[in-house]
């Protein structure tokens, strides 16, 4: 289930993300970031590409930051925005996934980085939840 929303932050942008498990949380985080980067209406449908990502970290939070940082890097490098993620391997410190998306003509936001500010992945009744602050 796609589950994320933008929350207010004075200087930057924050995203509240939920997921039944870590895999879904990471997928939703990527899709939430995609929404910040480009309007779905602006996404070209004729030049879709799939890219492989693999991130190794040492705990779930560093995995989340490492994963999103990879997508931020691509967004800046060639304006690649992903709108579909297929997780191939997952553990609390490792993800391997195929990200499908396209290179958009213009990005909606300039996201400089993914921060660790007050970052915590917590267990709730609905599953896992976290809030990520982006530096913009």
């Amino acid at each position: 289930m796609i589950d994320f929303e933008e929350v207010e932050h004075t200087a930057d942008i924050a995203l509240r993300i939920c997921g039944r498990d870590l895999s879904e949380l990471l997928v939703n985080a990527a899709l939430g970031l995609g929404m910040l980067l480009a309007d779905s209406a602006d996404m070209p449908t004729d030049v879709v590409q799939t890219r492989q990502v693999e991130v190794q970290a040492f705990d779930p939070e560093s995995l989340l930051v490492g994963w999103l940082s990879e997508l931020v890097y691509w967004a800046e490098k060639d304006r690649f925005v992903c709108h579909k993620v297929e997780v191939q391997e997952i553990s609390s410190t490792h993800i391997k996934a195929a990200c499908t998306g396209s290179c958009v003509p213009e990005l909606r936001h300039h996201i400089k980085a993914v921060t660790y500010h007050n970052l915590q992945i917590v267990q709730t009744d609905r599953g896992l939840q976290t809030t990520v602050v982006f530096d913009v």
Partner: protein, 483 residues
């Protein structure tokens, strides 16, 4: 959130939170503000973030918030934190993602009335010469290995390539080159992000602005800085672009484990750090210096582009289109400096995140032409509002580790700003005030609406009234160029 009852007033514009406020604080926290700015600061998490920085190992005297403080991530924006060498910490989050984001002020011999008929052409020429927008590359193509020279030599590289004069370098903080930068400490990914962005403006709150010097408050300093009423000046606000963002990202990620190695306990993971004398601390310092040099080179190349734009748009139309450098100073940096603490001169690592260095008269690090009046401090306002030139003072050396404010400081989120202001309307409003606007994105323009910021004049008044940095000149914009 910090309650106002925990804050005591120690001077007209100075407030303090005692170190006993929270068990993990090592030193008190001080805020420069008036009543209204203090209320602003207490309205979000900025003061909590300031208190968090007072827990860092090796922190000395007190942590400081400038009057433009606002909520950041980890450290607040507008914060100054000094740690003692050799084993005090250095924190990438205490510098921020945009390493050596800063301001360059260029002066001219042109009067406002001379330029008015050609302002549209000038604004368009600057916009065309200075690439802007998210991730946009520039026209400077670096040869293989040349990026490493940019990282290790900063503005000196720019001079070797013909983009700078000796005077430009002399009038840049540390001559536009931090010694000890190491390109090998910068990741391949960071270099990939930076290889085609030298001489580009980027997006967000970065801008180039054509200003008129409206008021002079300090004749002696203004004369020394080459400023006079009615003069056209240019501000460039920009940093180390994607390269700096990646350097910070890399080291914040790496230091997540480093803090465990050194047994450092922190209230927020964004505050991760390493002892300065450790290999980890040294690696970050060398990488941060490299990114800072990239930023100096970036602003230098942008200044070169601005000069070309002035020649193209104004040759034969004004008496003298020459553009000279007043000063260039960063506001996101960690610097190794000597300061007096409790009567002793000690070596410190001064983290300034959204704070400007403001060294007083006769400091050896000030260019010789300005040495007896103090370092020029450049404080850009929010879009469409005034900007200030201040001068550093002895009081800053005594009270704030030679630091002052860096701008107006945000008071409204970008999302809120966009809900309240429509970019096109804002543009019309600015044009109605006689300000030319060249912007790549209308929503980007709305995010930077002046109503989303505090009043820069008020922020400057607090610094002036505290004697930390005193007023020299007030500039107003006539053309804004942004991504």
């Amino acid at each position: 959130m910090v309650d106002s009852r925990a804050i005591k007033r120690v001077d007209k514009y100075l407030y303090e939170i005692d170190a006993s406020f929270r068990e993990d604080m090592r030193v008190p926290a001080r805020l420069y503000a008036d009543a209204e700015l203090l209320e602003h600061a207490l309205g979000d998490a900025s003061v909590d973030q300031l208190v968090n920085t007072a827990t860092l190992p090796g922190v000395v005297k007190y942590v400081l918030a400038m009057p433009d403080i606002h909520q950041g991530y980890g450290f607040p924006i507008g914060g100054v934190v000094a740690t003692q060498l050799p084993d005090g910490i250095i924190s990438p989050g205490g510098v921020g993602y945009d390493i050596n984001c800063g301001v360059r002020l260029l002066g001219t011999h042109i009067l406002e009335e001379e330029i008015r008929p050609y302002l549209d052409e000038l604004a368009t020429a600057i916009y065309n010469y200075c690439p802007s927008g998210v991730g946009k590359g520039g026209e400077i193509k670096l040869k293989s290995g040349e990026l490493d020279r940019v990282l290790e030599e900063g503005s000196r590289w720019a001079k070797a390539r013909g983009f700078a004069t000796d005077e430009d370098l002399e009038r840049t903080e540390v001559g536009g080159c931090l010694e000890g930068a190491d390109a090998a400490a910068v990741s391949a990914k960071a270099k990939e992000r930076g290889h085609d962005q030298v001489g580009t403006l980027g997006a967000g709150n970065h801008f180039i602005e054509v200003d008129v010097v409206r008021d002079i408050y300090d004749e002696e300093a203004a004369q020394r800085y080459g400023l006079f009423v009615g003069q056209i000046a240019v501000q460039i606000h920009c940093g180390s672009r994607g390269l700096g963002h990646q350097v910070c990202t890399d080291y914040v990620q790496r230091f997540q484990q480093t803090v465990q190695k050194y047994g450092i306990r922190l209230p927020d993971r964004e505050l991760v750090c390493a002892p300065l004398n450790s290999p980890d601390g040294q690696a970050y310092l060398a990488a941060m210096k490299a990114a800072a040099n990239y930023a100096f080179a970036n602003r230098q190349v942008l200044a070169h582009h601005v000069r070309r734009a002035f020649v193209e748009a104004l040759s034969g139309k004004v008496r003298n289109p020459h553009v000279f450098q007043v000063y260039d100073v960063g506001h996101n940096m960690a610097k190794i400096e000597q300061h007096e603490v409790d009567g002793k001169r000690i070596t410190l690592c001064v983290h300034r995140k959204g704070a400007t260095r403001a060294f007083g008269p006769y400091h050896p690090d000030i260019p010789s032409v300005y040495r007896d009046v103090g370092q020029p401090v450049l404080v850009p306002g929010s879009m469409g509002t005034a900007s200030w030139v201040l001068r550093g003072t002895e009081e800053a050396m005594r009270q704030t580790f030679g630091s002052t404010c860096h701008g107006a400081g945000r008071s409204m989120s970008r999302t809120q700003a966009k809900k309240k202001v429509w970019g096109g309307e804002l543009r019309e409003q600015l044009e109605g005030q006689g300000i030319r606007v060249r912007a790549g994105s209308m929503s980007g323009l709305a995010e930077e609406a002046p109503s989303a910021y505090k009043d820069v004049d008020r922020v400057v008044e607090v610094m002036h009234g505290s004697g930390i940095a005193t007023k020299v000149a007030r500039l107003v914009p006539i053309a804004i160029i942004k991504g």
